[in-house]
């Protein structure tokens, strides 16, 4: 029972635990236990926290030498009504991690000179900050973390999978540009950070679906099997968390029914069969998670959809989420000095508390809210691009004030809708 309790504490979301993430310097060889101890002492001296934070300045020599930052993220669902939490009394779970700077490695089949998959050691510097940059209306991120928690808990508890079945497959679907692939990568990264006590390291394997189709008839199914065989080899190491990402999964799991009716050769059917059987075989590994994304859910084989434990729709962001995205973009531009002088923009919650009263302090934030409402319907990818487009098309100079930038941003949004209208007509 103790093991379950320990695991429950180690995993996110099972209990109301505050997960403190400590980013260790890559060159540091200070023991994690010592860092955890010092961070615990340091946080005890801190006052109440009201939300996410990142601390980079420590009054402790060991911490200054060994770590880069201490942060708390995803506190929205933990800190209700902004009442604040006293960290000295809260239950903290401290995770110490180091980022891997390694570039993506490629997995090639020995005889084929094509890259079958790209791989990253996790936690990776390439995915650092992605999780925090993703804004969703619902608590999708927490849901996915909780799903992974339960998956590992059930595996560790050795729940009989013949009685209670779970396949370790997540399917994210929705229109393009909504952050499905980014969410998968960020989830894999976050899991490795949060489960650093459980797994010594993690690996994200992004399968290049298109390269699994051979020029030789009937060979594609074999390529898929070989690829999954490699994954089996990785998963033999119980201390390695392997997250497999299959982007645009419909290319590997196209509906077999439509294949039969159309001009698709039977090779495509063999590929689907191979994927389905291989996914079934991966079920037995407790350190495996398969993350898939798709734009065209209708084209996916029903047998695959049925295997997915979570079929999460990721839609375009709401005005509230758009406001958060714009706010993060403007803060970044203020940080680098493109928007100058830097000005405090209020969060939407603060505006609500102030009942959207119009005064000199709230005016830019209210303007931003208007733009966010106007931008509804645009994808997350487009929204992140718009501040750049606003600068490129309407500013083209050095630094500008917030007011000017917001005006240009508003114009960029109008332009974007006009362009989209032209494309559709």
């Amino acid at each position: 029972m103790n093991g379950v309790c320990d695991l429950a504490q180690a995993l996110p979301g099972v209990q109301k635990t505050y997960h403190i993430e400590v980013l260790k310097k890559p060159e540091s060889i200070t023991r994690d236990a010592l860092i955890k101890d010092r961070v615990g002492q340091f946080l005890n001296t801190q006052k109440c926290v009201y939300g996410d934070f990142t601390i980079t300045d420590f009054k402790d020599d060991i911490l200054t030498e060994s770590i880069i930052s201490v942060s708390l993220s995803d506190s929205d669902h933990l800190i209700f009504d902004r009442k604040g939490v006293d960290l000295s009394e809260a239950k903290l779970h401290i995770h110490v991690y180091t980022l891997s700077e390694d570039e993506a490695g490629t997995e090639e089949m020995d005889e084929e000179q094509v890259s079958m998959a790209s791989q990253w050691i996790l936690p990776s510097a390439h995915f650092h900050g992605l999780w925090e940059s993703l804004v969703f209306d619902e608590s999708i991120k927490e849901r996915l973390l909780n799903y992974a928690t339960t998956t590992l808990l059930f595996s560790d508890k050795k729940v009989n999978s013949s009685i209670i079945s779970w396949n370790r497959v997540v399917l994210l679907h929705g229109p393009p540009g909504t952050g499905k692939t980014t969410l998968c990568k960020a989830l894999a990264h976050k899991l490795c950070v949060r489960l650093s006590d459980r797994f010594s390291c993690g690996q994200l394997v992004e399968i290049n679906s298109h390269s699994l189709f051979s020029k030789w008839f009937s060979e594609s199914g074999k390529l898929v099997t070989k690829m999954f065989q490699r994954l089996h080899d990785y998963m033999v190491d119980p201390e390695l968390l392997v997250c497999v990402l299959i982007d645009e999964v419909e290319s590997l799991t196209a509906a077999r029914k439509s294949c039969l009716n159309g001009n698709e050769p039977s090779d495509a059917i063999r590929v689907v069969n191979a994927v389905l059987t291989q996914i079934d075989q991966l079920k037995k590994f407790p350190n495996c998670l398969i993350l898939t994304t798709s734009n065209i859910t209708g084209a996916i084989d029903l047998a695959f959809v049925d295997r997915a434990d979570i079929k999460q729709y990721i839609g375009p962001p709401s005005p509230q989420a758009i406001y958060k995205i714009y706010l993060s973009c403007l803060n970044e531009l203020m940080r680098v000095g493109i928007i100058s002088p830097a000005q405090q923009l209020l969060e939407l919650r603060a505006l609500e508390v102030m009942r959207f009263v119009d005064n000199s302090a709230t005016r830019p934030s209210l303007h931003l809210r208007e733009i966010a409402i106007k931008s509804e319907g645009l994808s997350g990818r487009t929204l992140r691009k718009l501040p750049f487009m606003a600068h490129a098309m309407f500013i083209q100079g050095g630094s500008v004030t917030v007011e000017t930038f917001l005006h240009c941003l508003s114009q960029a949004v109008d332009q974007q809708f006009a362009d989209q209208a032209h494309l559709t007509t």
Partner: protein, 327 residues
């Protein structure tokens, strides 16, 4: 890929200096790259060829090389530059920390999931041993590597990444060009080859005061009776709870006492094992226990895994990665 492991031993007729160790590791990497089809020619030959091609281009700038040829040259240049950087880092690492016990060369897409791993176990350092020259150590190494075809394999391997990881004592807080990898462990999957480098050198003899065939006379010390000396020592251990260093010193005192026993009462058989110590000595003073080996015996690598003695050792990964290529 089922894990498959082989071991080879290389015996050198003397000690290896830290610079020689570094260069031997570099030589193994060069040979390995060629044997495992990561570079089309032997490293030194490849560098020579590239230099020649560059000279030709400089002399005849009007002759434009074929695009495919220039692409191959570019890859070769990149590999050579990365390898030079890696070799330099390895040399500096051995200079900074001569106590590096192990070097692991990994071939695969990431260090966590290599297809092939080559573990080079280095002999213990013995500063007072007779060191052999770099030339003869290289000759000895290559005699085995080539004659026994140690690094050649029938397993197909496409161009992939090469990583180098060193296992150094925790006291080496910084190795230039290397990043600590606390989570690294020697991979169990894939093809694994262990190269044990052994030296014919006196094992720890240089630090060991107790192993001396000639009898020692220390003036000014009156020989004590055995019972008295053992009692004193036992009492000292019980009462003072000495530190490991003190314990080691005390134990060497016993050895000296033993000699003196022989001097004063040669017929009396002294058995050190009969003395009861409240704290186990062997575990805390491994050097003395190892001194029982005869002088000039092989310093056989004791097989201590860096992962097992994790608290004392740290893995350091070279920040330079070499990506192989095929023509």
């Amino acid at each position: 890929m089922a894990g498959c492991s082989k071991q080879f031993e290389f015996v050198f007729d003397g000690g290896l200096q830290s610079s020689t160790r570094a260069l031997l590791v570099n030589e193994v990497i060069k040979h390995l790259l060629y044997e495992r089809n990561q570079i089309p020619l032997q490293f030194d030959f490849l560098r020579q060829q590239l230099a020649l091609a560059e000279t030709d281009n400089a002399q005849q700038p009007s002759t434009k090389p074929l695009s495919s040829q220039s692409q191959v040259d570019r890859k070769a240049k990149s590999v050579i530059s990365n390898l030079d950087n890696m070799f330099e880092n390895i040399i500096k690492a051995f200079e900074t920390c001569p106590e590096i016990q192990k070097a692991v060369v990994l071939l695969g897409s990431t260090p966590a999931t290599p297809k092939e791993s080559y573990i080079i176990n280095l002999p213990h350092l013995c500063p007072e041993a007779d060191n052999i020259s770099l030339k003869s150590s290289k000759q000895a190494l290559f005699q085995h590597l080539v004659a026994e075809q140690v690094l050649s394999s029938d397993l197909p391997l496409g161009p992939t990444n090469l990583y180098v990881v060193l296992c150094a004592p925790r006291t080496a807080s910084h190795l230039p060009g290397f990043i600590p990898k606390a989570s690294f462990k020697v991979p169990s999957r894939g093809h694994c080859l262990t190269l044990n480098m052994l030296c014919r050198q006196p094992t720890f003899a240089c630090q060991d005061l107790t192993f001396e065939d000639t009898e020692v006379e220390i003036s000014g010390i009156e020989p004590l009776s055995l019972e008295c000396s053992s009692l004193d020592a036992t009492v000292a251990y019980h009462v003072m709870s000495p530190s490991p260093e003190k314990r080691a010193r005390l134990q060497s005192q016993f050895h000296l006492d033993k000699r003196k026993r022989h001097l004063s009462n040669p017929d009396k058989d002294f058995d050190l094992t009969k003395i009861h110590f409240s704290t186990p000595l062997i575990g805390s003073t491994p050097k003395i226990s190892a001194s029982n080996q005869p002088l000039g015996s092989l310093d056989l690598y004791n097989g201590t895994n860096c992962g097992q003695s994790h608290s004392q050792s740290v893995w350091f990964q070279c920040s330079t990665v070499v990506k192989g290529y095929r023509v």
